[in-house]
């Protein structure tokens, strides 16, 4: 590996994007992710790139749509209320099969909510948010190092599948400083972009980037093709981390910064002679069902921990499908679950299954 730096999560996302070959960033300020824009505004003009502050999130995502149509690597970032505004463009990008990267550093909602960390946009990220039958690849880093790794991957996956990749982080990850180690040379993968609308130079038929197909039979086939693509991604790209699961009495399920609090709870439990494990989804879509199959027989129960009212827990229940009890604990509104919150719930579950 190469250079080690102490950096803020949001800045690492921006630096990683540049290392991935992203030279176009369109955004609109919103806490707690604006350092991404600051970093891009400073760096991109010096390396021949474009930073543009749009008039709104709606305009920013449509600028992304335009830049992605030309085949360039492009990114925008925002936080929860701003992501809601971008959902129109997200749906069009899905419909037109354009590769692009969207970052959501989540804060508490609904509405204007607050500016403290949250995971309450899980449904919006993984189940739709915009209209129509579409999916995004949703990557959930849980450290600053992983913000770097997954941002690089987000660009490669977007190009590989002509899909939008989302980095779904929270205010904790965006704002915290940690050591990150950058590679000396980045693995930037290149993919065919002969579909791009970049001027045909009188050498080929004209390319059209569109999400509209008025003939229902054509639109149905277009949707079937999209679903086939999503199935391929689901088969190829599931990612997860299994931690201390071998003899776990209860397996915690958590992503992002909450997974790190769960590791704290696992340590605390060990001191009390209780063996807990952790299943940490890294891809939230595709949801890592394969990982659950490896551990389904081990625990007496699963406990999902989130900074929400319980969103990912629905996917855990669908995956476990009644084979084991699935419990939930969480905090909302920008409050962060503590090791004690988790341990209290663990004790309650142990009591039930004694």
């Amino acid at each position: 590996m190469g250079q080690k730096l102490l950096m803020k999560g949001n800045e690492v996302i921006a630096e990683a994007a540049i290392r991935a070959g992203c030279r176009h960033y369109f955004g609109y300020p919103i806490t707690p992710q604006t350092e991404i824009a600051h970093y891009m505004a400073k760096k991109l003009p010096k390396i021949g790139g474009v930073f543009l502050q749009a008039e709104s999130e709606v305009a920013a995502i449509n600028m992304v749509y335009g830049a992605a149509s030309t085949g360039k690597r492009v990114m925008t970032s925002s936080s929860s209320p701003g992501i809601s505004l971008k959902m129109e463009g997200v749906s069009y990008i899905a419909g037109a099969q354009l590769p692009a990267v969207l970052v959501n550093i989540m804060r508490g909602g609904p509405g204007l909510g607050g500016i403290q960390p949250s995971q309450s946009d899980y449904f919006q990220a993984t189940k739709g948010g915009g209209h129509g039958d579409y999916r995004m690849i949703v990557l959930a880093p849980s450290s600053v190092q992983e913000l770097y790794e997954l941002t690089i991957d987000a660009f490669n996956l977007a190009d590989k599948y002509r899909i939008m990749s989302m980095i779904l982080g929270d205010g904790v990850l965006g704002q915290m400083m940690e050591v990150v180690e950058f590679r000396d040379e980045e693995k930037v993968e290149t993919y065919d972009k002969s579909w791009a609308a970049c001027g045909h130079d009188n050498k080929r038929e004209h390319n059209v980037v569109t999400s509209i197909h008025i003939d229902p039979a054509v639109l149905e086939q277009w949707n079937i093709n999209l679903q086939n693509k999503y199935q391929t991604i689901s088969g190829n790209e599931q990612r997860y981390e299994l931690y201390n699961c071998e003899n776990a009495e209860i397996i915690l399920v958590a992503y992002g910064s909450v997974a790190r609090i769960c590791k704290g709870a696992i340590k605390e439990a060990k001191e009390q002679g209780i063996n807990l494990g952790l299943m940490r989804p890294i891809t939230l879509w595709p949801f890592p069902t394969e990982g659950f199959e490896k551990i389904i027989d081990i625990p007496c129960a699963f406990l999902t921990v989130e900074m929400s009212s319980g969103q990912m827990v629905e996917d855990v229940k669908l995956t476990v499908n009644g084979r084991k009890p699935v419990y939930f604990t969480g905090r909302m509104g920008g409050m962060i679950p503590t090791v004690k919150n988790i341990m209290d719930k663990v004790m309650e579950i142990r009591e039930k299954h004694r």
Binding site: A59, A67, G89
Partner: protein, 248 residues
């Protein structure tokens, strides 16, 4: 025999879906002729709107990108910032540009975004069957103003050229009409000039084209052309609103 009139190369040889008497076909032709004469088809990327012209990506022979309702100037910005040496144009109706897309057009204009906007003003929403547009004239009957547009209820028709000409970003803004041959020729010159302004990297250019919608106006094609002259031009005066070349 010498050929004096032929189909522009920048238009695909396919039937158009527009209603009889609709002037979209003429406006398309003017854009295509400008692209041909300036020999820019190979490096042009057009942006299709939402509205009757939503699928003009089937008609223009250059690369095309279809945009969400009103967002064409933002999409065009993304394209132009990625391909600064290419030619980028949007083609938008009055609902698209002056209602849902007001923020996008104003900010593209004030940034002096080096794109060309072809703005079709026919004072009505055509695609969705004749509702009030921001440009609908006072008293005009539409499916959502069945008793005529009332300023107290619906406000006043928007004059886009006048509004945008107050900004410092635009390099060229002109309003033209397609109601007779003389004006079509003037419109052609304006469209071509708008592209020339972009080629010279002078900044934002917009041509507003007063157009017909015989179907939703409930008029025959000839009456519709007369309505432009008699009712629209008095409210939407023709002329050049911005031309930075003429400034001292």
């Amino acid at each position: 025999m010498a050929v004096v009139f032929k189909a522009p190369k920048a238009l695909c040889d396919v039937p158009m879906h527009y209603c009889p008497g609709c002037t979209h076909g003429i406006a398309h032709r003017l854009v295509a002729e400008a692209i041909d004469e300036l020999e820019i088809e190979g490096r042009t990327v057009g942006v299709s709107p939402v509205g009757c012209a939503y699928n003009n990506y089937l008609y223009f022979n250059c690369d095309m990108v279809q945009a969400a309702h009103g967002r064409a100037p933002a999409v065009a910005t993304g394209i132009k910032r990625s391909l600064p040496d290419n030619i980028v144009f949007t083609y938008q109706g009055d609902g698209d540009l002056a209602a849902i897309g007001t923020a996008e057009i104003v900010h593209a204009a004030t940034r002096g975004e080096n794109i060309t906007v072809i703005f079709i003003n026919n004072t009505i929403y055509g695609m969705t069957s004749g509702q009030m547009a921001p440009t609908t004239l006072l008293g005009q009957v539409t499916t959502t103003t069945p008793y005529g547009r009332d300023a107290k209820l619906n406000g006043y028709p928007v004059r886009v050229c006048e509004m945008l000409s107050k900004l410092e970003g635009p390099a060229y803004i002109e309003r033209v009409s397609l109601h007779d041959v003389k004006h079509v020729r003037k419109a052609k010159a304006a469209v071509k000039k708008a592209f020339q302004v972009q080629i010279a990297k002078k900044g934002f250019s917009l041509v507003e084209i007063l157009s017909t919608c015989p179907t939703n106006w409930g008029l025959n094609p000839v009456e519709a052309l007369k309505r432009i002259e008699k009712e629209m031009i008095p409210h939407y005066p023709l002329g050049v609103f911005v031309d930075t070349e003429l400034e001292v």
